[in-house]
Amino acid sequence: MRLAPPALIALTLTATPPAIGQTVELAAPQAAAAALPGATAAAVPATTAPPRPRTKGDPWEKFNRGMFRLFQSFDRAVFRPVALAVGKIIPKPIRSGIRNFLRNLSEPVVFLNDVLQLKPGRAVRTLARFTLNSAVGLGGLADVAKTAKLPHRDNGLGNTLAHYGVGPGPYIFLPIIGPTTLRDFSSAQADRLVLPLAVGKPFNRFDWQLATGALAGLDQRIESDEDLRTLLSGAADPYATLRSVYLQSRIAEIAEIKGKTATPTTFEDPLEDPASADTAAPTGADAPVADPSPAPTEEAPAPPPAANEVQIEPASPAGT
């Protein structure tokens, strides 16, 4: 679940205090609510999660939250300590070699999906990259293509389906696999079948899949540790934060596949001021384009019509 180079998330919106060694707690909302004056105590049972409005795009939220809690316990007790220990034992160059090798093996699937999306330019670059790294890069251990301006560009059936208009379906969180959607999860399984079916040995062997899966998973956990901590340690609801960030990033990725510009898709949200929502007179002329992606958008309280006029600020709360 690596989101970005570590310092960067800290530098931006998700900036959180550097909670070193702190584990992500789900208890924050309850804890905060419990600290309230008695009035709200009845509404917030101490032990059970209170009812909350359903989130668009996440109909399986109850199951997902269960999986998220399970993953957090497992991560705290086993996964993270093991991954960090492995990271200390195996030197970085060897880990990046393994990463390059496994990534190189994914290039045929990337190529296939480049073709399915009718992107010949990308397909040719992927093929060139695979050939170069396999031949000169010691079977993919060294990413020589990257220095030759042929960086890895991920692609998969999930993107291809999205390209042809298939929506994401329900959001899913699964331990180890992390955040995904029904479309992306099932597509990933299909992608994984390509090499075993097309090439056979060793890709169709269970022990090969287990070993490569474990290596990739551990490497990923090591690399993403600081990011995850930064992203989630300050979160009131880490589950919802991760879901939001994942879905937003997928929407942007799919917009990019479809050839949209570098404008963030969330810029389409009019972000209407709740304090002046009832006075805003919507007009159709400059209405925001409908969400270009079929992916679910987060629960935005903003109503759909655009607020064209400059918002008239009400008396600002005394926040200074």
Binding site: M1, R2, A4, P5, L8, T12, L13, T16, A28, P29, Q30, A32, A35, P50, R52, P53, P151, D154, G156, G178, P179, D184, A216, Q220, A236, D237, A240, S244, V245, Q248, R250, I251, A252, E253, T261, A262, T263, T266, F267, D269, L271, D273, P274, A275, A277, D286, P288, E298, E299, P301, A307, N308, V310, Q311, E313, S316, P317, A318, G319, T320
Partner: protein, 211 residues
């Protein structure tokens, strides 16, 4: 998880590369005084951040906070951002709770900048003079340039308030909106404990930043 990662990295590099050359709707030209009015707050924030980064740990957290707080006040429309993250319950919130949550949001925003921007290793910011417009809002594209590693795209959404352009949202790597993320993060706490619980959470966040 593996896929998520590599996609994010790919996306970042792709979009950063295409940002400069992409055809955007309603482009304003650089040098236009109205455009400069839009980019000025972003420049001011970047300068402020660079200043506290350079002050670093020798200055300490409190000094960085003192320095960045007025910059955050001057460049962000914090009251509007508070209303946006609180959402539709805002109008049903008593005025005292409204001002309390706005004050907590303001403190949290400044505290997290002071806590996160604590060291300098050659970073710089680049502001695209071309400003994008949609409705009442403007979008300023910027890049965080690092001596090592790929640039990070940070886009600022601004809206006019009292004749001044103010930042109301930040987009990380052209995709992740701060307001959208915070709305998701706070939805549960708002549903269970209301605006008061959110105020407590934000106050705690600001307090832990000091550590």
């Amino acid at each position: 998880m593996v896929q998520f990662v590599s996609r994010r990295l790919v996306l970042g590099s792709l979009l950063a590369a295409s940002a400069a050359e992409s055809a955007m709707p309603a482009l304003a030209q650089s040098g236009d005084p109205s455009t400069q009015a839009v980019t000025a707050p972003v420049r001011q924030l970047n300068d402020g951040l660079l200043a506290i980064m350079k002050a670093g740990s020798t200055a300490g957290y409190a000094a960085r906070l003192n320095r960045i707080s007025p910059v955050v006040d001057a460049t962000f429309d914090l009251p509007l951002m508070t209303r946006l993250v609180v959402g539709s319950v805002w109008t049903k919130t008593p005025a005292t709770d409204q001002s309390a949550v706005a004050a907590a949001f303001r403190k949290m925003t400044a505290a997290r900048y002071a806590a996160s921007f604590k060291g300098y290793s050659g970073e710089s910011f680049e502001i695209d003079p071309k400003v994008e417009a949609r409705g009442p809002d403007r979008l300023v594209h910027t890049k965080l340039i690092r001596p090592r590693g790929t640039p990070v795209a940070l886009d600022y959404r601004l809206r006019q308030s009292g004749g001044q352009w103010r930042i109301i949202d930040i987009y990380y790597q052209n995709s992740i909106s701060q307001i959208a993320t915070q709305r998701s993060d706070f939805a549960r706490i708002l549903a269970t404990g209301g605006v008061k619980a959110l105020t407590i959470h934000l106050t705690q966040l600001a307090a832990t930043s000091a550590k």
